[in-house]
């Protein structure tokens, strides 16, 4: 093989990485050959590279169930549910960070601005709704998971389930441990003004400690105890493990059509709840005041958090709607 064809093969292999694994398994060899043939005629082409990047990324998006019609209905439902789960976890990470900060403020003094008070009550109510939805969603998932493990058909599920379990253990244990250092009232005589139990508030605060503007101020961050900085690095990694593990589990778990339809409805309900939570957070950002004593001041990290939550909400709505549509089509054609 000549140096030129070696280089073309290497470039074709590099371009192929833009496509998802499943696509590469089916079309990879022949597509790489087409690229090599094309490169022999046009060694350099920005248009060709841009086209491969565009179609490769589109194929990846189609795999997540967010676009295109390349997936079978069952795959579409599974992919849509996994996308809703991922979007919800990302949404909750930033949402809970905002909510727990406001909870700390409320521990010291009730907010003066009605918008902040309403926002807090709305967000607290929606978090309760999330908890109920999570419980309802977990029941068929856990039952199917147990059945699959008992029947020894869970070979592809061991890794993802382990990632969820280990990630969750790290998050829970670390949040309980670091929750003891939260800046709430603790044993302060004013304690008791809380809108939620202190244990819940400090747990949520510790779990989302990594969502902070201190990352932009390394000097200030360096003054933190090393254990806290380690936790701020480890906790998002643990959350990522939970997110990836949950998405893979949802995509591989052999749920019945009925369970898939049920989970699709819950996914749509979760997206609606996310919209409610975002409305609450948004009303605090737009109309909430910093008083009293600057406890409810809006920071840049809060605005960034709301932007991330808005993006997660759009993704969740789209994924939930596509999963629900696929599940309804599937049930109507059976």
């Amino acid at each position: 093989m000549t140096d030129t064809s070696d280089a073309a093969t290497r470039r074709a292999r590099r371009l192929l990485r833009f496509y998802p694994r499943g696509w590469r398994a089916r079309y990879g060899e022949e597509f790489a050959q087409l690229l090599i043939d094309d490169m022999s005629e046009r060694p350099r082409s920005v248009t060709r590279t841009a086209d491969v990047v565009r179609t490769g990324l589109l194929a990846r998006v189609a795999c997540t169930g967010l676009a295109g019609d390349t997936l079978e209905p069952v795959q579409q439902i599974r992919a849509g549910l996994a996308a809703v789960g991922c979007a919800l976890i990302a949404f909750l990470a930033f949402g809970v960070a905002i909510w727990s900060q406001l909870t700390i403020g409320w521990q010291w003094s009730a907010p003066a601005a009605p918008a902040t008070k309403t926002a807090m009550l709305v967000m607290t109510g929606v978090i309760f709704v999330f908890a109920v939805l999570a419980l309802l969603a977990a029941i068929p998932l856990v039952c199917t998971l147990c059945r699959t493990f008992v029947q020894r058909r869970a070979s592809g599920l061991v890794g993802p389930v382990m990632a969820v379990v280990v990630g969750a253990i790290v998050l829970v244990a670390g949040s309980i441990h670091f929750g003891h250092g939260w800046p709430g009232t603790g044993g302060h005589p004013w304690a008791g003004r809380d809108v939620v139990p202190i244990a819940v508030a400090r747990f949520c605060w510790a779990a989302t400690l990594w969502i902070t503007s201190y990352w932009a101020h390394p000097g200030a961050l360096a003054s933190f105890p090393m254990s806290e900085i380690t936790w701020m690095v480890a906790s998002p990694i643990a959350l990522l493990a939970v997110l990836i593990g949950a998405a893979k589990t949802l995509r591989r778990l052999p749920l019945s059509p009925r369970a898939l339809r049920y989970e699709s409805w819950l996914g749509t309900a979760a997206a609606l709840a996310m919209a409610g939570f975002l409305a609450g957070a948004g009303s605090w950002i737009i109309s909430g005041g910093p008083a009293p004593r600057g406890l409810f001041r809006v920071g840049a990290i809060d605005s960034a958090g709301v932007a991330v939550m808005a993006a997660a909400l759009i993704l969740a709505f789209r994924a939930a709607q596509r999963a629900l549509t696929a599940s309804l089509i599937r049930s109507s054609t059976r």
């Binding site: 696509w23 089916r26 079309y27 060899e29 022949e30 597509f31 790489a32 050959q33 087409l34 690229l35 043939d37 094309d38 248009t47 060709r48 086209d51 491969v52 990047v53 565009r54 179609t55 490769g56 589109l58 194929a59 390349t70 109507s332 054609t333």
Partner: protein
Amino acid sequence: MARTEAAQTDEPTKSEALSTFGRYAGPATLILSSLAEGTKHGYALTKDIEEFADVRIAPGTLYEALARLERQGLIEPVESHDRRRPYRLTADGALALRAHLDSQRRVADVGLRRLASSTETG
């Protein structure tokens, strides 16, 4: 009137398959037209289409359309020991291409007729 199974499920019939392709309809029509002559692999398709339509389909767009056509059963891969895998038109693909081209010809005929009459009156 008896309804077909496809109509009952609101799915397009095979002859209408290309109408559901949206922005892929252009490359899909060109690929099917090229395969109407016989089996071809990716690069041969690119060259043939460039020759008869004066359009160069980029590799990513070509395979995006090929994958879609294969999924719809309008083309199928042919067994090959080479890395250049050829594709051929299926019976459904021929039906879909004929229906699509007929509809395009009707539009073209109307347009040309109206252009001719407006030239005469103008």
